[in-house]
């Protein structure tokens, strides 16, 4: 007991082989939440069903008092209020957002952090100003290589006290594919508190950690940012000491609306014999999804599903559906997506120490039982 933050803020760890979910992982799971998978039904996820991951506390911010500063290596420093932002030409993008830690709790051994299974995803229409427009207005000074984004959320993580802060290379920050947004509306309404009210960054195609919520400052810098959320967390690593590779764009994933109805506790599904419609969504931040396949025998045999590409919304999930002729017995359904770059989903877990970018296929256990059994 030396009174330092390290007393209450431990290094990252991996659970013991048979260790159940711990009290601290549960405390994260009861605050943050995923998409109930039946809500894959909606093209646009209602805000209360969209996944939420908040590192520290949800700040309580007054939209009237909010200011965004844009400084560092710029020709003229900017300070904008919400009216200034709304006065600029707005664009809207439909974006499927996914937590980089989605799938973590299925890993063996399990990295101890937010314990997602497969449900940390959602799709919304975000309205705001392209970041490029703000950068052009400020003017980029010579030598700038990255933009660093600071949120209003503050906490401690593995002994490091910090505001939540992430960077993007300038070519991404200024890019058009994707077009990065400084967003003030979600599905046509002001951002809800948990989604970044009043303003957040949206980086279509990237995992959620890049979409800095409660955005309050953008600073251009002349060397790559090495803050906690960039250089310590959100790296693909096998061991704690290697530098690892940065987590960035979303790996392909397909999810299925679990068919039939569930058992409350096991979440196993029940369907009746006969034709059963299987449907869901598929997405990738690395290229358009070009193929979705389903298997009803745990991955031994696959058939191609019908894909409904949303060409008007290149950063949003696509729909897919297939018909399954269900026969009595316990079945193991699964689905996998492949994108135009040839990226697909593995059938065995792609382990890494942070539990990031795990796009192992979903598995849905279904009992096909005649009525009345």
């Amino acid at each position: 007991m030396d009174g330092s933050l390290r007393e209450i803020s431990a290094p990252g760890r991996v659970a013991d082989p048979h260790e159940g979910i711990s009290a601290s992982e549960l405390a994260l799971a009861t605050r943050n939440h995923g998409l109930p998978l039946e809500a894959l039904h909606y093209d646009l996820t209602p805000p209360g069903l969209h996944y939420v991951l908040v590192h520290y506390d949800i700040p309580v911010l007054d939209a009237d008092a909010w200011r965004l500063t844009l400084g560092g290596l710029v020709r003229s420093r900017l300070t904008l209020d919400l009216a200034d932002l709304r006065a600029l030409p707005a664009v809207t993008h439909r974006v499927t957002m996914e937590c980089a830690g989605n799938g973590r709790a299925r890993l063996q051994p399990r990295p101890v952090s937010q314990p997602w299974l497969v449900e940390a995803v959602g799709t919304a229409e975000w309205t705001g100003v392209p970041l490029r427009v703000l950068l052009d207005e400020a003017g980029i000074a010579p030598g700038a290589v990255e933009a660093v984004f600071t949120g209003a959320d503050h906490g401690v993580e593995r002994g490091v006290e910090q505001d939540y802060r992430r960077s993007l290379p300038l070519d991404v920050a200024r890019g058009t594919r994707p077009e990065v947004l400084v967003a003030y509306a979600m599905n046509g309404a002001p951002l809800p508190p948990q989604h970044g009210h009043p303003v957040r960054l949206v980086v279509p195609g990237w995992y959620g950690m890049a979409h800095v919520k409660w955005l309050r400052d953008i600073t251009l810098v002349d060397t790559p940012f090495t803050g906690f959320q960039q250089a310590v967390s959100y790296r693909y690593r096998q061991t704690p000491d290697e530098p690892g590779e940065p987590v960035d764009t979303i790996a392909p994933r397909a999810l299925m609306i679990p068919p039939g109805f569930p058992d409350f506790m096991s979440r196993t599904r029940v369907v009746r014999p006969g034709p059963v419609r299987l449907a869901g969504r598929a997405w990738s931040g690395r290229g358009p999804v070009t193929r979705v396949e389903v298997s009803v025998d745990g991955g031994a045999f696959w058939t191609e599903a019908e894909l409904v590409r949303e060409t008007a919304h290149p950063w949003a999930w696509s729909g897919w559906h297939a018909t399954w002729e269900a026969t009595p017995g316990l079945r193991h359904l699964t689905v996998r997506a492949t994108d135009a770059e040839g990226n697909t989903q593995p059938l065995t877990e792609p382990w890494n120490r942070g539990g990031f970018g795990n796009n192992l296929v979903q598995r849905v256990e279904v009992l096909c039982a005649p009525e009345g059994t």
Copy 2:
């Protein structure tokens, strides 16, 4: 493997003494979610932050096609659509709703079900038609003793396939304190899917299981209802075989907005030395909250907080606040509410087999550390 539902739907159980949270409890925790405790700040909880507990799947219902039937022991059977319901005189009540299982995951041994810590609560303004008005319109036939409410959600629980169904005694169903609502709006907007769209029951002062979501039928019956959610689940029991007592109104509870800022993983809080404002909410379904006390030494010494009674909203939580002169060290904060009936919160767990009505005091671990440590 006999193909019956019992294969995938086990009896209720209590975890082994050192058993961590299981995969099926986690699957419930990633779908259902609590109130992030900093959102106790809001008088009215934004819908996406209000706790949600869904037994089966969230039904996808078309508001235009929705009908409510009122039958059984009535003089004239009613069928109402949403326009019929909206044409009747509307009332609005501000209601604090809490899951009966709140606190379950803190019990030793732990009943295996939705693993709530303390956060399964929220407050909203619900608008709808008093149930009494609909019952008067249908006319109650002689012999009716209870009203049975059926939701559109369907699933299996401990081997029993069912629509979600609960009853109320007629005197409660027709009562004015509380006034039971057939509600179609939450905070002035149509109900979100997860809160019962398009119509739900609201029973102010009762735990959440009574507020039947996706309400589609009300049937008056001449004997007390013995369906699963009434006679099997939601009973206070010490052993699996006793009939137990029914779970009904909400026991008093106070919660604190965790002060300072958190560590991401442990959720332990950090504050600076000096005066720290402590604030939160307190409620009881059994009478107005009359006293809130806080302790900063784990419950050895208590001081009374200032209570801000919302007399205009007798079914909603009250605010409270106090000032804590924080000195360096690891502190254990707690708070307890007492209502006008003398009900209060225990300092040791009130165990029961279902993990219901557990209003053990909240405990918040706070490190008071000078800046820069």
